[in-house]
């Protein structure tokens, strides 16, 4: 069988489709978006006995009568209606054995598609634990297609599935036992469709779709034909006259078929039959989704997550710092003093290196989030959050866009498309950038690691959690304001399926860590590298006037010969003064001085201002900018970590430039400010104009300025200057 056009994995949400996809494809995966929509397109290459084939993991859907954008994509791929994805040569219908009846509805529609089909009966282990046995052979006889029992996360049954795919056949659609009147109308309509050019084997299924109210794109050209439109209208009139609702009748017929199949193939064991025992998941859920305990445990889990990030990542970051410093020294040791050496040591290694050291924290964050997701806990968190979200005028569906925004606001804003209500969607998009994205983490880690270095992981983790919490609180307040001032429109209910709890898979957790870490490293090696090089040039040129340099040297000269140690101190002071003068006279220094009056009330000097401007390209550029700025400033001490250089910097009066109050003010600024221009561009596209993105830009940055101002003065009052 020719499978060159690929295989599609289809199934309900949470049926273990992605786990099976990972088991089939390993790490040979590519994640992108379907063009023009926010729906993720996951493709991978699987090795079958007949050779390698492309596998596409479709969004979960309960039916082929799509309502949301992701369901529409799944339907369009399966029906071969998308120009960006070839029609699949075969379909793997992933069915959750522990919820067979519910999964069979979609399967009943897949059987009518006219494409070769194999059923992967997944989660048989969970079904067995519930005392629920599914007879796969009997099910295969009822469905007329191969049924392969698999356990995706244990990789069992995968080889059998591969073999079955190689010989998959087009199934025969089941007989739905429809009323005679409806069958007669379907046959008349099918005859008209045949005359209109529809291939004979598809006519009856297509007639059913017309009468069921399907509005998929492949039906539109047929409806445009007068004879089809007329036949459809006549059929509907006839059925209405007989009191038959075709859509409801066909749904009821499918459910009767589902009942008969499950009655024949599912054996309820003693646990199920007794019905008195709650399942393991139900028992755990009684605590984890409890209105009070659930929220407490949620807060505890999140706090542990951030504490763990600091506790585990700290030693690893030290290793990274050492390795980058050693590499920088090795690369530049053969070069004479000059522009190229400065570019490499003060630009590339000081800037990009300052960002790269945060790789362990990024990897840990995504690894821990993957554990929470894979275990089934994140869905519970969404359920818990729905209660709170609805209070501030957001929708339960806002949780996923907001959660995505903790990685990056761009997919978060785009994922808000799944929210039907326009006000709730707009409010979600407006507050999404308040969620602390992963680009902010290096900034938080630098500031907290520098100013609270001697505090334990608990305090440091608590401070990071505080930053995340501040973003969430301000987002909630903003959403509440939207609730008061924007028209609500129609109310849409929130339906969420809670998956069963299961042990997280190490392979999936490692995959998530790998994908997100490589994205971060790639970004550091491309965008941040380019910006660092540009920033270095702006800090390196124009060069200090030789007369001014001589004057500075003269100021630091000593009239009498000094002892070796004193001479070293004098030389260090002279180098520092020269570096500061060079930086102050550079393009970046001049620009920083221009904006200084605007940021001075927040406790920042012109160097921090340069960092804040750089952060408008990407927030973590603040760290690399500081790396470049201090790499240039401390000419004699290039290998010192950024934290040491920051703490050593002094104002003209000799007092510390960077204080804990400045650090807290900067943290508040980074939590609240809208600095990501890519997010502004996405907002423009998603809202169809510049009005909302510009309002968001002004609102968030004004709020950030006020918040940073208040934080600086409050921290000064509490901690002292």
């Amino acid at each position: 069988m020719d499978l060159s056009s690929g295989i599609a994995l289809a199934g309900n949400p949470n049926c273990g489709k992605t786990t099976l996809f990972n088991a089939l494809t390993g790490l040979r995966q590519k994640v992108a978006n379907y063009p023009g929509v926010t729906v993720e397109k996951k493709t991978g290459r699987a090795e079958l006995p007949s050779g390698p084939v492309m596998v596409v993991d479709l969004p979960g859907t309960y039916s082929l009568l799509a309502t949301s954008p992701d369901e529409r994509v799944a339907m369009e791929v399966l029906r071969g209606l998308r120009s960006d994805t070839p029609p699949p040569a075969a379909i793997v219908a992933v069915v959750d054995a522990s919820n067979l009846a519910r999964n069979l509805y979609l399967l009943s529609q897949l059987l009518e598609l006219g494409r070769p089909l194999v059923v992967a009966l997944n989660m048989t282990d969970i079904a067995a634990r519930r005392g629920q046995g599914v007879d796969a052979d009997l099910l295969a006889r009822h469905l007329g297609v191969p049924v392969i029992p698999v356990v995706g996360h244990r990789r069992t049954g995968i080889d059998a599935l591969r073999n079955a795919l190689a010989s998959a056949q087009v199934p025969t659609a089941p007989n739905w036992s429809l009323p005679d009147g409806l069958i007669a109308e379907l046959e008349v309509l099918a005859q008209v469709l045949r005359t209109a050019g529809v291939p004979a084997p598809h006519c009856l299924a297509m007639a059913s779709r017309f009468l069921a109210g399907d509005d998929a794109a492949d039906l539109a050209p047929l409806v445009a034909k007068a004879e089809v439109a007329e036949a459809l209208e006549v059929a509907r009139d006839h059925l209405a006259a007989c009191g038959v609702d075709p859509e409801q009748t066909m749904i009821a017929a499918r459910y009767r078929w589902i009942d008969s199949v499950t009655a024949a193939c599912v054996r309820a064991g003693p646990t199920m039959a007794a019905g008195a025992h709650r399942t393991y998941t139900e028992r755990v859920d009684a605590v984890l989704v409890h209105p009070v305990f659930g929220l407490g445990i949620f807060a505890l889990i999140m706090a542990s997550l951030f504490v763990t990030i600091f506790w585990v990542a700290d030693p690893l970051m030290g290793v990274f710092e050492g390795a980058i410093a050693a590499l920088g020294t090795w690369v530049t040791s053969g070069l004479a003093e000059g522009a190229l050496k400065s570019l490499l040591s003060d630009g590339v290694f000081a800037g990009v290196g300052a960002v790269i050291v945060f790789v362990p924290q990024i990897a840990l964050l995504f690894g821990l989030l993957a554990i929470l997701e894979d275990s089934g806990y994140l869905a519970r968190a969404a359920f818990l959050m729905d209660r709170l979200l609805s209070k501030v005028g957001l929708h339960g569906k806002s949780f996923i866009p907001l959660l995505s925004s903790f990685a990056c606001a761009i997919p978060g804003v785009m994922a808000a498309r799944t929210i039907e209500n326009p006000r709730e969607r707009l409010a979600t998009m407006l507050v999404a950038p308040f969620m602390s994205c992963s680009a902010r983490l290096p900034v938080y880690a630098l500031l907290i690691g520098t100013f609270f270095a001697h505090q334990g992981a608990l305090v440091k983790g608590g401070l990071v959690l505080g930053c995340y919490a501040l973003g969430v609180v301000v987002a909630a307040a903003t959403a509440y304001a939207c609730k008061l001032f924007l028209d609500r429109g129609a109310v849409t209910p929130f339906i969420l399926e809670l998956p069963t709890y299961k042990a997280p898979q190490a392979a999936e957790v490692l995959r998530q860590m790998w994908v997100n870490t490589t994205t971060f490293v790639t970004r550091a090696g491309t965008t941040i590298l380019a910006l660092t090089v540009i920033l270095w040039a702006l800090a390196y040129y124009p060069r200090l006037d030789p007369a001014q340099a001589a004057a500075i040297a003269a100021q630091h000269a000593s009239a009498v010969p000094l002892a070796a140690e004193a001479e070293q101190v004098r030389q260090g002071d002279e180098d520092h003064a020269l570096g500061q003068a060079q930086l102050a006279g550079s393009y970046v220094g001049r620009f920083g001085h221009t904006i200084e009056p605007l940021i001075a009330p927040l406790g920042y000097d012109w160097k921090m201002g340069v960092g804040l401007i750089g952060a408008f390209a990407a927030r973590e550029v603040f760290v690399s900018t500081m790396g470049v700025v201090y790499g240039v400033g401390d000419v004699g001490d290039n290998d010192a970590p950024l934290s040491v250089a920051i703490l050593a910097d002094r104002k003209a009066d000799g007092s510390a430039l960077w204080t804990p109050a400045v650090a807290i003010s900067l943290l508040v600024w980074f939590v609240l400010a809208m600095q990501c221009l890519s997010t502004v561009a996405v907002m423009r596209r998603e809202t169809g104009g510049w009005r909302w993105p510009l309002l968001q830009l002004v609102y968030m940055n004004t709020l950030a300025w006020i918040g940073a101002f208040a934080a600086y003065h409050l921290a000064n009052a509490v901690l002292g200057t």
Binding site: P35, G338, L340, R685
Partner: protein, 49 residues
């Protein structure tokens, strides 16, 4: 101008060109009308969403 200056400025010029191109491409891609075809087919004569 020394050889080091020349090489460093060439690297800076390459960084400016690359980053400028990336920003331009990103804006072009992200400011489409939001329909199912943009920015793939550049509106292709359709009215948008």
């Amino acid at each position: 101008m020394s050889t080091q200056d020349f090489i460093a400025l060439a690297v800076v010029a390459a960084a400016v060109l690359w980053y400028g191109w990336r920003v331009w491409r990103g804006l072009k891609k992200r400011t489409g009308c939001g329909c199912d075809r943009c920015p793939v087919e550049k509106h292709a004569g359709h009215p948008g969403p």
